[in-house]
Amino acid sequence: MRFKTVQKATYPKHNKSRTHHKAIEKIDAPTIMVFPMSMHLGAPAKPVVEVGDKVKVGTLLGEAQGFISANVLSSVSGEVISIEERDVLSDVYTCVIIKNDGEYTEEPPFPEAGDNVDPAFVPELIKRAGISGMGGATFPTNVKMSPPKDKKIDTLILNGAECEPYSTSDLRTMIEYADEIIEGVRVIDSVFNVDRVVIGIEDNAKEAGEALKKAAEGYDKVEIKVLEAKYPQGSEKQLIENCTGRQVPAGGLPADIGCVVSNVGTFQMIYRAVRLGKPMVERVCTISGTPIADPKNLLVRLGTPIDDVIDFCGGFQEAPRKVIHGGPMMGKTIKDGAIPISKGTTHVTFLTAEEVDDEERMDCIRCSECINVCPVSLQPILISNAYERGDIEKAAQLGAMDCIECGNCSYICPSKIPLLDNIRKAKTVIRQNAKAV
């Protein structure tokens, strides 16, 4: 029993039991594959192929543009049949459409890859492989692994805290690919020579901890940290604090306090890129939710449209009302089944009409629950009120820009006030004002 107190977290139902024990299944890629030039955070990649080009698994389709960007590579072999603008996850991006020939002919592995890669060359291989963070935020991994020279990195944190309901992709990855993850850790350790490696997992994923512990036997730096299963345990800032006791300074990066954090799956991809010379062309993704007849953990080739995975999971047993790319706390809703599984697709959640019923907004009763559950100690109701009054300056003073948009405030509000919506809008106005100055 939890008493009502300052929790800085919420406890949404995990809803993970339907896929928790299901081994990862590989799904065949369909004929038509879609590759948005932005599967990552930062500048979209620039297409380097043309219609009619023949491609192989690992062929560069889009080249990273600017400092924060990532390469896009083909996950199948076949022919480029179209390059078009498409609506993907609330923005329009150029997409390369490829007709899969079903042969899966591969490009040769990166020649520099192997067991004795110069640590200084590791970020370049990661960049070439097109790896971006696999926890959902999709920050380009090569950028993360090349912090400014003056920052000494002493702690490497692996994010295995899968706090979004329904998601079991990290859990299964940790259980089934523990060895590859630990090899990836060794690669990054060779770059930074850290003092400590902390793998943060939630207490509902103990099997994962055991698998990783076994894989890391004799590797003394590695420590498995079992954290309480609560939301947002897997948020980067909160995970750092819970694993090291340090707080990332406002406006700063984890590197400022000597930490590098990345999702467990990312380390598996790092291992494959640096030791085996293989690009990131697939990922583990959970397909779950009440409407799905047979929810699964899938190993999906990137670019596979969501429509194509639904059949593989037995279709719908109940009509979906919301389809969410990601989890119900932070994910984005989609309508278009042609939107593909991309680098950040940890899971796709389907909700029934009953599960999404919107209740009427009521007046604030000042229960202060939004303040209790805010992981960054904001006062969401006050920011929301300031925004609704049109007082943007006050919203900024109250820390609107520090909001990590985890959704806890809106989730908990008994009066169903759209707190996060208002804070997001306030942030947008604050950003616009900052630009205008």
């Binding site: 939890r2 008493f3 009502k4 919420t10 949404p12 890629a29 369909p30 004929t31 800032k237 604090e241 707080q247 990332v248 406002a250 969501i306 429509d307 639904i310 719908f316 979906p320 009302r321 919301k322 119900p328 706390m329 932070m330 994910g331 984005k332 809703t333 989609i334 309508k335 278009d336 599960e355 209740e359 009521m362 007046d363 604030c364 009763i365 000042r366 229960c367 202060s368 303040i371 209790n372 100690s377 904001l378 006050l382 009120n385 009054r389 049109g390 006050k394 003073q397 109250l398 820390g399 520090d402 806890n408 809106s410 989730y411 008994p414 009066s415 169903k416 759209p418 996060l420 919506d421």
Partner: protein, 366 residues
């Protein structure tokens, strides 16, 4: 390769687009109020047992008055009607429980009208009232004889029928607590006088028909109600614990560590009633985590001061109103430090929730 034409596609379904989060905690403001109502049934039942059915009659009268007055007020000023959130029922029940045995029906109606219209609705309705409506009503009731004596010379309109004569010369604030166990010990006494009730009787509520408020008579009923609210996660246990603890500690030290004296103070008067239903009120309590610590401790200190200083044995209501007035300023000073920042936010921005929202009515109606 998946191919055929009967394939499932999202295009066949009526899907909605929306911002995150997409799931919500299964509760509502109405549900919270309902839990408080359920909790109040315990002291209400005890009141009926010890004082008879007039307890029920007075409480129902208060509830009806509160709900109707809130409804009519909202109709008259053309606001969205909010009586379905049940908060007016909570206020009405709390007024009923705070009233003395023998209160008159017109007293109940006047107090309820004052609580809802003046304390709650005029500042803007639920969540915008700086003062606790029921406590405001209770204190007005206590002040009534003084007001009447001052302005309508001699005539007591609102009286506590059964004990009134005995104390017409005493301070008007004593009215409610008159002849209760608290009255025996409160006049600056540092020990429990002879002839006072036994602790056990006070715990059960068997005060021999000595008066006292209808809902505060039985300590055990109030403790059950408190446990229920804590168990339902409606109230934070630290709030009643700190409020009652502060009073207990001060009384223990004041009496030279007389445990019996301390227990008398915990079990008598409105301390447990307030600790369960008044100090824990959301709207008029602290907003920040630290504000929610300051509120009960401050209220505890003021309650003890009232009792020791013999300003009035019934310091509970005053202590809550005083803290109600102070706490918004405290909250501004103790805003939580935001993650990654070294200081508390802002330069005490005036973020008072009682400030009306310009677009409020438009927003709530869409």
């Amino acid at each position: 390769m998946s191919t055929n034409k009967t394939k499932t596609t999202l295009a066949d379904y009526d899907l909605v687009l929306d911002n995150s989060p997409h799931i919500f905690e299964k509760w509502s403001s109405q549900w919270i109020m309902l839990q408080v109502i359920i909790a109040m049934l315990f002291p209400l039942a005890a009141g009926v047992y010890f004082f008879g059915f007039q307890t029920l009659y007075l409480t129902v009268l208060a509830v009806i008055t509160c709900v109707i007055s809130e409804y009519l007020y909202e109709k008259i000023v053309r606001k969205r009607v909010t009586v379905t959130d049940l908060s007016a029922v909570v206020t009405g029940m709390l007024i009923g429980l705070s009233m003395p045995n023998g209160a008159q029906w017109f007293s109940i109606i006047i107090v309820s009208l004052f609580a809802i219209i003046v304390v709650k609705m005029i500042p803007g309705g639920i969540g915008r009232n700086r003062f606790n409506p029921a406590v405001g009503g209770r204190v007005v009731y206590l002040m009534a004889p003084w007001i009447v004596n001052t302005f309508v010379a001699g005539e007591d309109i609102i009286t506590t029928a059964s004990q009134a004569e005995a104390i017409t010369t005493a301070t008007p604030d004593d009215l409610v607590a008159a002849a209760t166990p608290l009255f025996y010990i409160a006049s600056g006494a540092q020990e429990v006088p002879d002839g006072a009730q036994t602790l056990w009787n006070m715990f059960l509520g068997n005060q021999g028909g000595w008066g006292g408020s209808l809902g505060e008579t039985s300590a055990i009923a109030l403790l059950i109600a408190m446990a229920f609210l804590i168990f339902r996660r409606i109230i934070n246990p630290k709030i009643p614990a700190m409020y009652i603890g502060t009073v207990a500690l001060i009384m223990l030290v004041y009496s030279g560590f007389d445990f019996e004296f301390m227990m008398y103070h915990i079990l008598s008067g409105a301390l447990l009633l307030a600790g369960t239903f008044m100090v824990t009120d959301y709207a008029s309590g602290g907003l920040t985590p630290l504000g929610r610590t300051v509120f009960p401790i401050g209220a505890g200190i003021i309650t003890a001061a009232f009792r020791i200083g013999n300003f009035s044995p019934e310091g509970v209501g005053f202590s809550i109103l005083i803290m109600n007035a102070i706490i918004p300023f405290v909250d501004k000073l103790v805003m939580p430090r935001i993650y990654g920042h070294k200081k508390r936010p802002g330069v005490h921005p005036d973020y008072d929730l009682t400030e009306p929202l310009t677009k409020r009515d438009v927003l709530t109606d869409n």
